[in-house]
């Protein structure tokens, strides 16, 4: 293996927190006590938690070492399909940390919260402009939360029409959270097969859509990275049967400034600000999943809503048909600041973002298609999906390829998803990766394909240079050890 990005170096073992420390040690600066102690009835007193006592350095070293076991966007290319792992601008972290934002109490009187209300108001307007959808709520705390909220709105819509419906159509190319969100609203999700081109054909929908079906949840671009070309026909059909169309817009990074979601006939759309709008993923959140809806559905949006009255902003609860609240306060405000800062920094260049994200994905698709099996050889959007078909002969599977890629210094793509492609390898480079880094990744993938033929053990053994080798996930699930 010639000199690729991945290599090894000195890192550190570190015990679990409670295997460190000594009672009486402290890592916290306890504020000076300026009042007397008030006693508490014994029958209420529990004596406090069994936490370890550590010094400040103990804790700093603990988490510094842990961090070195992680791979982040700043460590290297992170082409995790469907996750849009683009660069997280440092300056946006600064904005979110401003005392005026970080210290703001959510129940302050509106006249003392104008800055944050204006920011939210404007962000809603910008997201409306970007999607083409007129009304927006920022309350959902993540994409799936947006899906849930969206499905609640669809549920409320049918309720308001006097007749609830029981089913929702969900394509096999939709994201995994979609059915779960539908289920939470009491809908039965009906799987829909995509056609041989990897997209939905209007005919299928025409056959399946009926008066008892609340609507359809379409991920577009879908999880194969393909644009649903028949989207307008499909939405017409669904509407003609009195249904509504839910759009999963987590892949918006492919189509900003290009597609008008409203014109495509979508009724409810969620966005993942922690993907398209560059806010960090934090190792699993917090995210933010605003939803955008048509005029017809606006009055169902969660409350409170930010409104403007002659230059002053307020939170308005007065929407009797609203589905209600889905977050104690207003969603992940801190994440909104970062997305807002990103939009303010990019402006209309967001179109450029999508163009370059799609260019990079197609460049990878074309560069690797001979080497890896490309189930759907069509122009892709933000990502492209390969499979391990060519490698199976050598008993090399997607998992092996993913693990070996780590040793080359790249984060693996999303694997085994979407389910329609077996052994799927889903690659999303994003627009923030330079051509050199993308070329390095392509070279690595080719070299791995070569190794799969020459020297499959290398792949089966991988990774050998990470902090740990492959882990026993079955064992973990069979007898779960969830706390120490």
């Amino acid at each position: 293996m010639k000199d690729f990005v991945g290599t090894t170096g000195l890192i550190f073992n570190e015990p679990l927190l409670w295997d460190k420390g000594a009672t009486g040690r402290s890592g916290f600066s306890l504020p000076r006590r300026d009042v007397d102690a008030a006693d508490l009835d014994d029958d209420l007193n529990g004596g406090g938690p069994d936490f370890p006592d550590l010094s400040e350095l103990d804790v700093v070293r603990h988490f510094t070492r842990l961090s070195q076991w992680n791979f982040g966007v700043d460590s290297g290319m992170y082409p995790l399909g469907s996750c849009t792992m683009k660069y997280n601008p440092k300056i946006n972290e600064r904005q979110a940390a401003l005392p005026g934002f970080a210290g703001a109490h959510p129940l302050l009187p509106a006249q003392l919260s104008q800055g944050v209300l204006k920011m939210m108001f404007d962000l809603e307007r910008y997201l409306a402009e970007i999607t083409g959808m007129p009304a927006v709520t920022l309350q959902p705390a993540a994409g799936s939360h947006g899906e849930l909220t969206g499905m609640m709105i669809i549920h409320a819509y049918h309720e308001s029409k006097g007749k609830q419906r029981t089913k929702v159509l969900i394509p096999d190319t939709a994201h995994g959270t979609n059915p779960a969100s539908a289920t939470l609203c009491g809908f039965k999700s009906i799987p829909v097969k995509s056609n041989e081109q990897g997209i939905l054909s209007a005919e299928t929908i025409a056959q399946m859509m009926d008066e008892d079906t609340a609507g359809i949840m379409v991920t577009n671009p879908n999880t194969l990275g393909l644009f649903e070309e028949n989207i307008n026909k499909i939405t017409e059909i669904v509407h003609s049967k009195g249904g509504l169309v839910y759009g999963d817009g987590a892949n918006m990074n492919a189509i900003m400034g290009i597609v008008d979601v409203k014109k495509a006939g979508i009724d409810v759309l969620h966005l993942n600000l922690h993907k398209t709008f560059s806010t960090p993923h934090g190792g699993g959140g917090p995210g933010s999943g605003p939803i955008c809806v048509t005029e017809e559905l606006e009055h169902f949006l969660p409350v409170p809503r930010v409104i403007e009255k002659d230059g002053k902003y307020e939170l308005c609860e007065d929407y009797p048909e609203s589905v209600g609240k889905i977050h104690a306060f207003y969603g992940n405000f801190g994440v909104l600041i970062k997305a807002y800062s990103y939009i303010m920094s990019m402006g209309a260049d967001l179109k450029k973002v999508s163009q370059l994200a799609v260019l990079s994905a197609n460049y990878i698709k074309e560069s690797l298609k001979g080497t890896f099996h490309l189930p759907y050889d069509r122009p892709c959007m933000h990502e492209c999906v390969f499979s391990d078909k060519f490698q199976q002969a050598a008993k090399v599977i997607t998992l092996d390829i993913a693990k070996r890629l780590m040793e080359y210094g790249y984060h693996p793509p999303t694997v085994y998803f979407p389910l329609v492609v077996q052994g799927a390898i889903m690659i999303e480079p994003t627009e923030t990766e330079s051509k050199e880094d993308i070329d390095g990744f392509i070279e690595a993938m080719k070299s791995i394909a070569e190794e799969a033929k020459q020297n499959p053990e290398l792949l089966h053994a991988a990774p050998v240079i990470a902090k740990v080798r492959r882990l026993d996930e079955t064992g973990a699930a069979r007898n779960p050890c969830l706390a120490g």
Partner: protein, 444 residues
């Protein structure tokens, strides 16, 4: 633009490889009828420096400490956060990583969250905790839905002294399910009135909050007996101020089946209500019905300890139509912050900090009482309590705002029957001087 590395040469070469001669050509598969016609109508891009000025102005308009002395709590608490927490969170390996799908290169996140789960079980006296939910409110809703799944019953009873905004989120989550939510009234002493329970049967769960919205500490042990009388009903306790468990008996020790709530107090800034931390813990036997993600300990090929996402079968990836939870991204970084915070504060420190909160709140409570104001509810409290003022206090309240003092939260919007009642919160960040100033001001 500094975030877009492609030079025009790069673009040309890449387009050539793709066999196209323009960026627009990349979108050939997108039908005309759903395309935008106009360019994006957004403000001119700001430079880094213009953005800073713009955001400074927005943030500068907010009312925050130290300029403002605020006695607001009610679900969002002002606690000191060690600078070291911010320092550690700012390491990009921590905050720019995704959900740890690839455990071999995500052990940092995985061990941290495993430590989070563990410290939470220790704090709440429960057996297992998940990797976090969105916030305290959706966490409570999920808890009640989980009770409905486990018990196969379709009615729950929740105390009116649960944070009113949490109750509204529960309503929203329940609306499409057809399940019923009954509310339990409160007693004059500021605790939940359980009398109603007797003529409510087949309950999937009974939920109370402690300390409750009035700041009063519920008698969990006693409630537990009533709830568990019927062998099936689950006892759900929730909280908005986890610091209280630095001194109070834990939900687990009081027999809670599910303990959930908001973890913002554990090292997370208020930032206008989010991101917070949905804390969620239960008993082993319910783990496969629990929503949200879980980290488990295991070993690698060489027998070395390691951690992985586990029990994903409950999730969306496999058997997607059967998923019991739609949670994908959660509040990972907030859970990590909470872990760091609990580690810095430590067991000893956590007890002392909790005591300090209670003692300071108690000081203000008695000072206000001495000053002749009525403490509405006489049950024991932690760092919040309710005061009743005389009619027309609104004017005083507004005058205090002018003086940059926020004199608690008016209860009337949430409890119409409680005109002139205000919830006060005192944490370690309020000095005796601040409190004395408040007492002086409310009298003048």
């Amino acid at each position: 633009m500094r975030y877009l590395p492609h030079t025009s040469e790069d673009i040309t070469t890449m387009l050539r490889k793709v066999g196209l001669n323009s960026l627009d050509a990349l979108f050939s598969t997108i039908p005309e009828e759903c395309r935008r016609t106009a360019d994006l109508n957004l403000p001119e891009p700001l430079s880094e420096w213009e953005l800073n000025a713009h955001m400074d102005a927005l943030a500068g308009s907010m009312a925050v400490s130290p300029q403002y002395k605020s006695f607001l709590g009610s679900g969002s608490y002002d606690h000191y956060i060690p600078e070291a927490v911010n320092h550690l969170l700012s390491r990009s390996e921590v905050y720019t990583a995704y959900t740890p799908y690839q455990p071999e290169i995500s052990q940092g996140t995985l061990q941290a969250i495993y430590e989070y789960q563990t410290l939470i079980t220790r704090l709440l006296g429960m057996e297992v905790a998940n990797a976090s939910l969105y916030d305290g409110a959706s966490g409570l809703a999920e808890a009640l839905l989980m009770a409905i799944r486990t018990t196969r019953r379709n009615k729950v009873a929740i105390s009116r002294l649960i944070h009113p905004l949490y109750r509204r989120v529960v309503q929203t989550y329940f609306a499409p399910t057809g399940c019923e939510v009954v509310e339990l009234p409160y007693l004059p002493n500021g605790r939940t009135d359980l009398a109603g329970l007797d003529n409510l049967d087949d309950l999937a769960a009974v939920a109370v909050q402690s300390p409750n919205f009035f700041g009063c500490i519920e008698d969990l042990k006693n409630i537990e007996e009533k709830v568990h009388a019927d062998g099936k009903t689950l006892f759900v306790t929730c909280f908005t101020e986890p610091l209280a468990y630095g001194m109070l008996k834990s939900p687990g020790s009081c027999g809670a089946d599910i303990a959930c709530g908001e973890g913002q107090s554990l090292g997370i800034p208020r930032s206008f209500g989010g991101p917070g931390l949905g804390v969620f813990a239960t008993k082993h036997k319910y783990v496969r019905n629990m929503p949200g993600r879980l980290i488990g300990q295991t070993t690698d090929k060489n027998g070395k300890r390691g951690f992985v996402l586990t029990l994903a079968t409950r999730e969306q990836h496999i058997r997607r139509e059967k998923a019991t939870s739609n949670i994908c991204s959660n509040q990972g970084l907030c859970a990590t912050a909470a872990t760091m915070y609990m580690a810095f504060v430590g067991g000893t420190g956590f007890r002392e900090l909790a005591a300090l909160n209670r003692d300071k709140a108690h000081y203000l409570k008695s000072e206000l009482q001495k000053a002749g104001f009525a403490i509405s509810f006489d049950s024991p409290t932690f760092n919040e309590f309710v005061v009743e003022f005389s009619d027309g206090f609104e004017a005083t309240y507004d005058r205090l705002l002018e003086k940059k003092i926020v004199a608690g939260l008016p209860l009337v919007p949430y409890f119409p029957e409680l005109a002139n009642h205000y919830v006060f919160c005192v944490t370690e960040t309020s000095s005796k001087a601040d409190m004395d100033a408040l007492v002086k001001e409310v009298q003048s």
